[in-house]
Symmetry: none
Subunit: 128 residues, 2 copies
């Protein structure tokens, strides 16, 4: 199951976890990613999570549901999740098929995602 190059890399940057999905994940890989990420929230005391899906040219209903679940689970563990890098064609397809990211905030790319989290943090603490 875990052969070849990593399908997802999870890097820590301060109290933010940046998870980059490098390739399309099948359903079991998606679930594994979910478990890894949620575990690392506790390990690293993460307050923000960025999931970068720029490498994905398809986000199907299972993937979008799993991403929403990750965000919900992360929220219960005290972290805010931002999805970044949804490609234009992927966004078209998702909307045509009636899928969305629900309440999960989205941003154009990693840079905007980090900016979003730092704005949130600025809101929460005056001198954070």
């Amino acid at each position: 199951m875990n052969s070849g190059p990593a399908l997802v890399s999870i890097l820590r940057q301060g109290d933010t976890l940046v998870a980059s999905v490098h390739t399309a994940l099948d359903d079991s890989e998606m679930v594994r990613f979910q478990h890894d990420l949620v575990r690392q929230i506790g390990e690293h005391r993460a307050r923000g999570i960025i999931i970068d899906v720029a490498a994905l040219d398809v986000i199907d209903s299972f993937a979008s549901r799993t991403l929403r679940s990750i965000a919900d689970i992360a929220r219960l563990r005290g972290a805010v999740t931002v999805i970044v890098g949804i490609q234009p064609d992927v966004a078209f397809a998702m909307v045509c098929l009636g899928m969305d990211m629900g309440e999960v905030p989205t941003a154009l790319d990693l840079e905007e995602g980090l900016a979003y989290l730092s704005r949130l943090r600025g809101l929460g603490s005056s001198h954070g």
Copy 2:
């Protein structure tokens, strides 16, 4: 397909795109407008989009659905969309026909739309 004066102009103002629809668009023009706008979100790193429909004296179900789709797609790309300039008669007709803009925020005119976006931004950043 693209002869004569522009049917829609898309101007950038800071990190906001202002799209003015100058004339009634048929269905294929509407889809083309959708593609152009979504492409420009990435190009200009737009965080806000204002679609000005003041010149339209009819918004049919396809147009309103397309406008909602644009807003959904834009959100997946990290931008907030505001529809402005819906004429009184158009608003009457839309409500009579059971159409609406769903979750998409609306404002009276361009000025109010810009004010809405800058309030949103003020909410997100203390000194933005």
